[in-house]
């Protein structure tokens, strides 16, 4: 193997990473649906011919380092000869890709001078893929209820987009235009990756590129092994549950053991519960991805991942468990246990990585859906929103108040003015929920209260609120946070409390008050600087009663 000077290596490293950024820019700027360009519910990667990551753009963390699964799976099914110049493929099978059917992965081989040199891949969330309910069901029991399911399928052949496959995809979505639009954006993204890798190889030469790649991978591996080695050897455990699977009331347990031995880390998930009848299962690939996110949060978080990353990490998944789901278990809400899993890895290692850890966040997407027919124009409408909540505190800082959860990328909430213009709803209250963050020397962030009033004759309510059984935990003496609560018609005779629900009928004037949980506290609240407690009371984040009973600070109300 030829060794290369560090200058060329660094220039090539930047070129790979810029190529991935360009792919991402192409995808986000031309995507049709807000889930992609706003939630960044997407990810792109440039791979070498052996399916190793040359460059990946920081899209949705939960897609970290598993796009190569798709090119590998295709090769396993159809052989290496299946790759032909100018082709682009698409797939979404949950058991192969690990994720729910809404996530479409579009990828293609890159040939330079007739030789297979790499792959470009992009994954993005499509609004609707023809499940039994719009967007995706909350109570599916089999994957067949969750939409169209594709193994690797050619959507562009020899540079020409296949009309039959495009038509098939459009017909299988309730929103055909955006689906075909997003497909176009993903194909454009793959083509950008193809062009950039061709240009990089043309500029530096194949031999240089390969030598640079090997050195880049080696650098990343060295950095990560050093970081893992710095953690004391041992086995660190954590467990927690999500409330239920959407079908029964039984909690669903995620249990993990993190073993550090020298410069190797193993995350063992095999003790987690069996696959469930409700849609909270995920394919193995996505469980591995979530472990990689947690690993990345603690090890070498600054540098973009490449084929040298995650080499010190082994993940053990049990087939048939909820984290290694097999046909026909439903996967629509696959990310609910994974958000918990990520928090649990941080918790397990908190004692040995106190400075890098943080108390738990409010934990899940906290989805509210409202649908009906708009009396103003007679059109059907559907408002689907995740809700922000509190994040965990850490050594040296309070947790953030009212922030979107981990798996929703950089999603922004829906402005009141946009919401009321688009839908026959009134948003009568949107503000912080005092005392919902766990108390601590560093206070957990507060959740929010968001209250909707129905302003049309009839509507339906959908809810997916989670983490009431395992609310955000505190660390090092910090208190746990308050769990979420949703109340329909508070203070009225027909008041009801719900967390998960599908198609609950509502009438004009009905009120839905959602309250999200806070983040956990960090450190003993009695050690909190009294001036900070007074400021929290002044700002309304902590009530005078809590200031006195929990923090021991007397403040006039």
């Amino acid at each position: 193997m030829r060794t290369l000077d560090p200058i060329t290596t660094e220039i090539v490293r930047n070129a790979f990473s810029a190529a991935a950024d360009e792919m991402n820019a192409t995808l986000i700027r031309s995507a049709y649906t807000p889930v992609i360009y706003e939630m960044k519910d997407c990810s792109v990667a440039l791979l070498d011919a052996e399916h190793r990551v040359l460059g990946q753009s920081a899209g949705l963390p939960i897609f970290l380092g598993n796009l190569e699964i798709c090119t590998r799976a295709t090769e396993e099914l159809y052989g290496r000869d299946a790759w032909q110049p100018g082709d682009v493929w698409i797939m979404n099978d949950s058991y192969m890709t690990g994720t729910h059917l809404n996530d479409m992965t579009v990828f293609g081989p890159i040939f330079v001078d007739g030789e297979l040199t790499g792959f470009a891949a992009s994954r993005a969330h499509w609004l609707d893929v023809g499940a039994k309910d719009p967007g995706g069901p909350m109570d599916s029991t089999e994957i067949y209820q969750e939409g169209i399911r594709l193994g690797p399928t050619k959507v562009v052949e020899g540079g020409v987009q296949r009309r039959d496959v495009t038509d098939l995809l459009g017909r299988n979505s309730r929103f055909g235009y955006p689906a075909v639009g997003d497909l176009g954006a993903q194909i454009a993204c793959v083509r950008t990756g193809q062009r950039r890798l061709e240009a990089i190889v043309a500029k530096y030469g194949r031999e240089t590129i390969e030598a640079a790649r090997d050195e880049i991978f080696a650098q990343t591996e060295r950095l990560e092994r050093a970081a893992v080695r710095a953690i004391p050897d041992g086995v660190y455990r954590a467990e927690g549950c999500i409330d239920n699977d959407g079908r029964s009331d039984e909690p669903v347990w995620v249990r993990l053991a993190v073993e550090i031995r020298g410069d190797e880390m193993t995350i063992d998930l095999t003790e987690s519960d069996d696959a469930r009848r409700g849609p909270v299962n995920c394919g193995e690939a996505q469980a591995i991805s979530a472990c990689r996110v947690a690993y990345k949060l603690l090890i070498n978080p600054e540098s973009p991942p490449n084929g040298g990353a995650f080499r010190p990490l082994t993940v053990k998944v049990r087939r048939g468990s909820l984290l290694g789901a097999e046909e026909p278990y439903p996967c629509q809400w696959y990310f609910t246990p994974l958000g918990l899993l990520i928090d649990l890895v941080v918790k397990a290692l908190a004692d040995v990585l106190p400075e890098r850890s943080a108390a738990a966040s409010y934990g899940d997407s906290m989805i509210i859906g409202l649908a009906g027919v708009d009396h103003r124009n007679g059109r059907p409408w559907f408002d689907l929103e995740p809700t922000v909540g509190g994040w965990g505190a850490w050594h040296g800082s309070d947790g953030e108040d009212g922030l979107i959860n981990n798996v929703n990328g950089s999603l922004k909430d829906l402005p009141i003015e946009v919401l009321e213009t688009k839908y026959p709803l009134r948003l009568t209250h949107y503000g912080f929920r005092a005392d919902s963050g766990g108390a601590g020397r560093w206070r957990g962030g507060n959740g929010v209260v968001r209250e909707y009033t129905i302003d049309c004759e009839q509507a339906e309510l959908f809810l997916w609120f989670e983490r009431s059984v395992t609310p955000a935990w505190g660390l090092f003496g910090g208190h746990d946070a308050t769990p979420p609560v949703v109340v329909v018609n508070p203070g009225r005779d027909d008041e009801r409390r719900l967390l998960k629900a599908s198609r609950v009928p509502l009438r004009r004037g009905d009120v839905v008050r959602t309250m999200t949980g806070g983040g956990g506290g960090f450190g003993d609240p009695r050690e909190r600087d009294p001036e900070r407690v007074r400021r929290d009371v002044r700002d309304g984040h902590v009530t005078p009663a809590t200031a006195w009973t929990v923090y021991g600070v007397e403040v006039e109300g």
Binding site: I7, A18, L411, D413, P415, H541
Partner: protein
């Protein structure tokens, strides 16, 4: 007596002045140290250096960083924010998004107004602007009393749906004025940005309130000083949009002056595009710590309708400037056996090792010095002597760690930073759907001309232009712009439901308002022009494209729907590479912009003498790992028509231009250095 058209740009270290002398048909540039305690003193000094005394000035424009500095240093005015009851936390929730995804320690930017200074006021409008609940006048009065008692001098008012119906905000203003007189400044959200999205509008309004008293005091003082020294024309101020307004109207809309300084460079690019007949330019401004890229497309600046600053969104027209952390001060270091350059910067203090202020880590400036591309005795026009040995030592230390030769690493550091900057430019152009090869590159700022030719090689851009006064190009650019007033109103409707008469009425109303405000700026009808545009998107998209209209009455013309749709499809195709013809579209915002022509300098073109000779010395400089003999010439020595073959270095007071081997520099008749890149080395 008006002889000079003058522009003044106050930077952190220097105050630049550029004047166009109408008698001679030439430009002169002057400079003095910025006087932070009393900026007017520095301005007057700088004017003095070129004898452009206020009474001789027929036109004066100014780029101010007052508001920006107050914001960046968080020493703005304490603000009391009045918000709609039930929505008072909107400003702190800040839409709840995260901008760093792999970070469990993420915090939003600290809001400029603490939660305890936000007052919720009863009163509510609905989505159509109809009143659901009247304004709680008593609550406004109580807030006014609180402001008086606590000595709060600036009040921001941002109520829901005020962009549709400003009645509640106006009523609140009346009460506040009754109670407080004009001792306080009041910023109303519908005046700052008449667009939907309450958080973005509130954030814009709060920032205006935060800087407004400071900007007003400053402009009052500066204009007062200039007038007392004989200035007989109104002072003009640069806006973030690239247009200018009188100081009088800048006082009413301080927010629009926020990015007044840096956009001058882009507007210089626009003027250069006009005079050179090259409509497409990539403008690069490289200083000590940052590298700014902006674009001129079809002779127009690339202007956005919103931006964000340190995480705070702002609804206002702004010239897009893309900043990356790469500059002369970027530090090179080793990580896991690999070389890294930046984004960490040595800044100005300690600065690069060669500054001799205690810096020991090698920077890009040190690398250039080791290579001989910077003249140690002529840095910053001879105001600073650089320590070559210190630079060599710093680079040698890292070279040893990486197993490289010192000179090899020095060139490697430049190669890496050039590649990073070129990639940043390429990513930006991909986002805009632009092919860099069809552009020329304009380089300014102290370090821009040193790296520009290498960036051009990377990007396959054929030509680099280094304008006159590259260190004061921003000031020069301000001289070449025009009055600009932007008006916008949310106008949300699917095209299928559009009432054309209603839209025409909104546009005509805005047109009338635009002419009125231009008249208030002293622009008569003959020198005024108005343009209209609509923000449009496919139904279900979020981002919009701004599509120009042919006039305020276009929506009522027959075939308008089809014309607008196809114009939008074409723009979408161009920008994003694909379109969806036939898919339904919707309108989001109606925009009207008024421009006022203030006349322009008409500089004499200098007679070119092809092959003009010039004085130079020769020095050995490293290119492509080899030492080559290169010509080093002073820019003043190069007459129009002079041709310099690379390798060469051109030095002048504010910048150094590097011409690599294979490239050819020619001086054009306006005095610009035009470098044809050739095949490169």
């Amino acid at each position: 007596m008006s002889r000079f058209r003058v522009s003044m740009d106050i930077g952190g270290t220097f105050t630049d002045v550029v004047a166009y002398d109408e008698e001679r048909g030439t430009y002169v540039a002057g400079k003095s140290s910025t006087t932070p305690r009393d900026l007017t003193a520095g301005v007057l000094d700088a004017l003095g250096t070129i004898d452009a005394h206020p009474e001789l000035c027929g036109f004066v424009v100014h780029g101010t960083t007052q508001g920006l500095n107050a914001f960046l240093q968080r020493r703005g005015e304490r603000v009391l924010l009045l918000a709609t009851a039930g929505a008072g936390d909107v400003y702190h929730i800040a839409r709840g998004n995260r901008t760093r995804l792999y970070d469990i320690h993420f915090r939003k930017p600290t809001p400029l107004v603490p939660r305890s200074d936000i007052v919720e006021i009863g009163g509510r409008l609905d989505w159509a602007g109809e009143e659901l609940e009247p304004l709680d006048a008593d609550a406004v009065r109580a807030a006014a009393r609180r402001a008086r008692e606590e000595g709060i001098a600036s009040i921001a008012v941002a109520f829901l749906f005020s962009y549709l119906n400003p009645a509640h905000e106006l009523a609140a203003e009346e009460i506040l004025l009754e109670e407080l007189g004009d001792a306080v400044t009041i910023s109303l959200s519908h005046r700052i940005a008449r667009e939907w999205r309450e958080y973005e509008r509130t954030s814009s309004t709060v920032l205006d309130a935060y800087i407004s008293p400071i900007v007003r005091r400053y402009l009052d003082r500066l204009e007062g000083e200039l007038v007392s020294r004989g200035l007989a024309v109104p002072l003009h101020v640069m806006q973030s949009s690239g247009g200018i307004v009188t100081a009088q109207s800048a006082r009413q809309m301080s927010l629009h002056t926020l990015l007044s300084g840096p956009v001058g460079g882009t507007m210089g690019g626009v003027a250069l595009a006009r005079s050179l007949g090259r409509p497409n330019l990539i403008c690069v401004d490289m200083g000590g710590t940052s590298f700014d890229v902006s674009l001129v497309v079809d002779g127009r600046p690339d202007v956005s309708t919103e931006t964000s600053l340190e995480g705070f969104p702002l609804l206002m027209s702004v010239v897009n400037i893309h900043t990356i952390g790469a500059g002369g001060g970027s530090i090179a270091y080793a990580e896991a056996g690999g070389l890294r350059v930046g984004p960490e910067s040595a800044g100005a203090d300690p600065g690069p090792a060669c500054y001799g202020r205690g810096g020991t880590r090698p920077t890009v400036t040190d690398a250039n010095l080791v290579l001989g591309r910077v003249d140690p005795a002529w840095f910053a026009g001879g105001q600073m002597t650089l320590d070559v040995e210190a630079a060599r030592e710093a680079v040698a230390g890292l070279a040893e760690e990486l197993g490289l030769d010192t000179v090899e690493l020095a060139e490697g550091i430049c190669d890496v930073i050039n590649a990073k900057m070129a990639q940043a430019i390429r990513t930006l152009t991909v986002e805009k759907g632009i092919e860099p090869r069809e552009f020329a590159l304009v380089a300014f700022g102290g370090a821009g001309p040193m790296h520009a030719a290498f960036l051009a090689q990377e990007l396959e851009v054929p030509e680099v232009i280094v304008p006159r006064f590259p260190g004061a190009f921003s000031a020069w650019g301000m001289l070449e712009t025009e009055i600009r007033k932007d008006l916008a109103r949310s106008y949300y409707t699917p095209l299928a439901d559009l009432d054309p008469e209603d839209l025409c009425a909104v546009l005509s109303e805005q047109e009338r308002e635009a002419y009125e405000t231009l008249a208030a700026e002293g622009i008569d009808r003959g020198r005024a022009r108005v343009e209209h545009a609509l923000d449009v998107r496919y139904v279900a998209q979020e981002y919009t494209l701004t599509i120009p209209l042919e006039g305020a009455d276009e929506p009522r013309r027959s075939g308008f729907d089809a014309a607008l749709s196809s114009r939008f499809d074409r723009a979408h195709e161009q920008r994003f590479g694909h379109a969806n013809p036939g898919a339904p579209i919707e309108l989001v915002t109606a925009r009207t912009t008024g421009f006022g022509d203030l006349g322009r300098a008409a500089p004499r073109r200098l007679d070119g003498r092809p092959g003009a000779t010039y004085e130079y010395e020769e020095r050995s400089i490293v290119f492509g790992r080899r030492e080559l003999m290169a010509r080093v010439a002073r820019r003043e020595a190069l007459a129009p028509g002079a041709v310099v073959e690379g390798p060469a270095v051109i030095v002048e007071a504010t910048a150094t231009t590097v011409v690599p081997p294979g490239a050819t520099l020619r001086v054009d008749e306006l005095g610009s250095l035009v470098i044809a890149i050739g095949e490169g080395a």
